[in-house]
Each structure stands twice: as C-alpha cells, then as structure tokens.
C-alpha cells in the first residue's frame, strides 16, 4: 500500500498532462472565431454537458451504449473462453478451428460491418454482434495460451492423483490459465467499448453515444461531440481500473 500523500501526488502528476491539454485547448479556442468553432471553448463544452445531463440525453445514450457493451462483453467472453479452452485441451479441436480462427482474426472488425448490415440489418442485433466478435478474439487467444502454458508441474500432480481429463481441466488448467484469461479480458474490455461506439457511429441507428455524436456532428454541435468523446474516454478508463482491481483481488496469490 502506498502512503496517502504519495498516492495523491501520483494522482496529481497523472492529471498534469490532461490538464495541460485542456489549457492548450482553451488557448486555441480564444485565437479567433474560426478557432472557436473547431476548438469549442471549455465553458461551452461544460454548459453542453450540463444541458445533456439535465435533459436526460446523456444518460439515455450512455446507458444504451453501456448495455450494448456489457451484453457483447458477457456473451463474447463466455463464447471466447469456451472456444479457447476447447482449442487448448483438444488437439483435434485446435487443428479444426485454429486456422479458421487465425484467418478470420486478420480481418479488421469494421470490415465485417457491410456484411453484417446486409445479413442482420443495422439494428441492435448487428451492433451487439460486432461487440461479441470484438471480445471473442482476445478471449479465445488468451484462454488458449493460458491453458497451453499451464504449469507442467501442476499437471503432473493432477496425473499422480489420477484426475480425469475433466477434473484436470477444472481443477488445474483453467485456474492456471486465469491470469492470462484476465489479461485477455482487459484487452477485450477496450475492444468492446471501441466496437460499441464504432458500430453506433457506422450503423447510426438507435440510442448510444456513437449515435449522439453522429447527430451532433451533422448539426455542427461540436460541443456535444466533445462531451461524448470525454464520456467514452473516462468510462473506458474507469472500467479498466475496476477490472484491474478485481483481478488483483481475485488473483492475489499471483502477486504475493
């Protein structure tokens, strides 16, 4: 545990560069009217933030994005862990699924959008599916790696105690893979958030921070766009921090 004084100092140091950027931004906006259009003054962004907060637009769209992301994160994680684990424990499964997985993984996420729009429309399903796919990739990879790199010494103990394959998987491999799976989840979290906003921006339907940005952009309300950008950044940052804490709490034995 760090001392409180050091923690506060650390926090302030971490905020120094972002605050400097805000200062530079404000400076830029005061240069001329044209500048003020491109770099909306900070107080205007602030006012817009309050307005969006009060009329409920921010909450509505934020919650829509959050729900879309969480749905995709949960489904994609479960699916990714299942497929990654299968590839990790079964050589045949790895031979069958592996090449396809690595091939499909090379296609940028946004590359699937036209096809998905064509197959499933531009509604909630397509948006959720994008997030599921974004989460699926890193989860498969990290689960697979984690299980493949399970401590050989632990597996020998399982062998000595005559564990079945299933027992070995549940009691040893999966737990040895947990740190790697968590790393995958941290990656997935970032991808999920990006995919959520990205799919909203591209499909442009329904509620969501991405949709709100799109509408604001066409209405030349740059302050709204900036509110959305900051909201997306701050949320992602907080989620990352939260998962990091959960990992430390859950896998405390790894860090002793």
């Amino acid at each position: 545990m760090m001392k409180p004084a050091r923690r506060i100092f650390g926090l302030l140091t971490g905020l120094a560069v972002p605050l400097l950027c805000v200062g530079a931004w404000e400076l830029a906006s005061r240069q001329s009217a044209a500048h003020a259009w491109a770099f909306v003054p900070v107080n205007e962004v602030w006012r817009s933030f309050w307005a969006l907060l009060n009329n409920g637009d921010l909450a509505l769209n934020f919650l829509a994005s959050l729900r879309s992301m969480l749905t995709g994160l949960i489904l994609g994680s479960l699916l990714g862990i299942a497929v990654g684990a299968l590839m990790g424990v079964s050589r045949i499964a790895n031979i069958l699924i592996g090449p396809l997985y690595h091939m499909v993984r090379q296609v940028p996420l946004m590359g699937w959008m036209p096809l998905m729009g064509l197959w499933f429309g531009t509604g909630t399903f397509s948006k959720n599916l994008m997030v599921v796919v974004a989460v699926f990739y890193p989860m498969v990879l990290h689960t697979y790696e984690g299980i493949r790199n399970a401590e050989k010494h632990h597996l020998e103990v399982a062998q000595v105690f005559c564990f079945t394959r299933w027992q070995t998987f549940v009691q040893v491999s999966l737990l040895d893979a947990l740190p790697s799976i968590f790393t995958g989840f941290l990656n997935a979290l970032a991808f999920a958030w990006v995919a959520t906003v990205g799919s909203e921006l591209l499909f442009g339907t329904g509620a969501g921070l991405g949709s709100l940005m799109l509408i604001a952009q066409s209405a030349s309300e740059m302050e709204v766009v900036i509110v959305c950008i900051v909201a997306i950044g701050v949320t992602g940052c907080l989620m990352n921090y939260g998962i990091g804490r959960i990992r430390k709490w859950l896998l405390g034995w790894r860090y002793m």
Partner: protein, 279 residues
C-alpha cells in the same frame, strides 16, 4: 565393508505392512536425442521390501529422478519390468504417492483444500475425507495452518504439506524426489527427523532420491549408490541399524565416508558435452 557391517547386523526385522513390495527387473530407459538413443537407465535390478526406507544417491545424470518418475507412473515408456506387489506399473495410481523437490501445492487453494484434492477420486464420504485431511495435517504438525495459502507458508511448512498430501491417500509406496533439497540446512535436519518419525509411525515403504549422503545414511535401511552414463546401480549397502538413529554415531559416519569417497573418486561433473545435456 561387509565384515565391518556385520558388527551391526540385527535380525532382519519383519514389518507388518499392507503390501508395498517393489520389484524392478532388467529396467532400461533411453531417450532419443537428435539421431541417437541415449541410455538413461541400464539394467536396473531392485527389490524393496514392504515398510523399508530406501535411499538412492548418485551423481547428476545417473537417472535417479527418472527412476522415480517411472515408479510413480508418470512415464510408462520403458523396457523391463517394474512390479508393485506383482502387478506391472503402467500409469499413476493412488497406491503410489510422490513428493517433489518443489512442493507443487496449488497456489489458489488453501492448505486443507490442497490436501483434500488428493482424495478427489476416492469414494469416501465427505466426513471421512475431512477426518483424513485433519489426521494428516496433524501428522505433519501443521494443525492451525489449515486455512493458509501456500504463499503464506515457509518452505519447510509447504514441503510438510506436500508430504501430507502424498500420504493422505495411504499409498503403499511413497516416493521422495529430493524433497528436502531446496530447504535451508536447519530446516532440512528438522524435516529429516520428521520424515523418520512419520515413517516409523506409518511404516509405508519409502524410496528417497537425495544428493545428501548424510541424509541417506541417517534415514535409509538401504542405500542404493548409482553411477551415471548410463545410469546403473553401482552398489547397494544395507544399514541394519535401528531407528531412530543417532546422526553422529560412528558406524553411520563410517558408512557415510565410504559412500562419499566412492562418489567423489572421479569428478561428479559430466565430462562430455552430450552427457551434460540434462534429460
């Protein structure tokens, strides 16, 4: 040697034990290294009676750890025969336990959970499993540490937990692969005494691989001296002294000196590159 030892020979003590006779006949083991076969164990003959404590000493690369892995069943690719009470060993079984040099406890589990896990494939009722876990935790003097996680235990405590985990199945044979090799000198001496006490209480057949000749003569009824390249049994020395033993007794010191002289007559380091490859 024989004449000198005759002074200490007692009647061969008869031990009551539920099986645990190990017979090894013409055991050979080799590995493919690049395009050649490297012989690791050659024509091993060994008979171990139930309830005996046998120590295996020898230079690096003499295949003593490989021998234990074959006996426990982690490796079934060998020529010759390894028989436990007449049955050929081909795979691990709950009637053989092993303690490794590292404790190999699962870091995500508490001590009692780690030990209970060894009983996973036994049909005992839950209460019986709990009773056994508690009994073996008591046997290794770890009562009070049931809820500790492995990282909270000292090296010696973790190794005692590993011994409890290996014994909780009540195996006929306990194999010990340099179990005290990574511990500091004081802990090692303490655990040697503990091991002797546990062995005398349980009378389970124990086979221990060690680098420490003093440890071997202190604990063993029989010392198997191995030679390397290929790994083979050079000599077997019976130590028919009763337990518990006095570490400083002159007969033990004499035997220890003799074995040490024998092991260090030539350089214990491998003198060819391919022999240095740890298999």
């Amino acid at each position: 040697m024989a004449a000198r030892l005759a002074l200490y020979v007692n009647e061969e003590e008869t031990v009551e034990a539920a099986g645990g006779t190990l017979s090894i006949r013409g055991l050979c083991k080799s590995y493919a290294l690049e395009d050649r076969q490297v012989s690791v164990l050659k024509d091993i003959q060994l008979d171990i009676k139930p309830g005996h404590f046998v120590c295996i000493v020898g230079p690096s690369g003499c295949g003593k750890s490989t021998l234990l892995r074959l006996i426990v069943g982690l490796d079934s690719d060998y020529a010759g025969e390894i028989l436990l009470d007449g049955a050929r060993i081909t795979a691990p079984s709950l009637d053989r336990g092993i303690v490794f040099q590292d404790h190999r406890l699962f870091p995500w589990m508490r001590l009692d959970e780690n030990i209970a896990l060894a009983l996973l494939n036994h049909d005992y009722p839950k209460a019986e499993k709990e009773r056994r876990v508690a009994e073996y935790i008591r046997l290794v003097n770890l009562t009070g540490f049931e809820k500790a996680r492995p990282h909270q235990l000292s090296g010696g405590m973790a190794q005692r937990a590993a011994i409890a985990r290996a014994l909780v199945n009540e195996p006929r044979i306990l194999l010990l692969d340099e179990p005290l090799g990574a511990l500091d000198a004081l802990t090692r001496v303490y655990l040697q005494k503990e091991l002797q006490r546990i062995w005398m209480e349980r009378r389970v057949t124990m086979i221990m691989v060690t680098h420490d000749v003093e440890e071997a003569v202190y604990l063993g009824d029989e010392i198997i001296v191995m030679d390397a390249h290929p790994g083979r049994i050079k000599r077997s020395i019976k130590i028919p002294l009763p337990h518990p033993r006095d570490r400083a007794s002159s007969p033990l010191q004499d035997i220890r000196e003799e074995i040490l002289n024998e092991l260090t007559a030539t350089s214990p380091e491998p003198d060819h590159l391919e022999e240095a490859v740890r298999i």
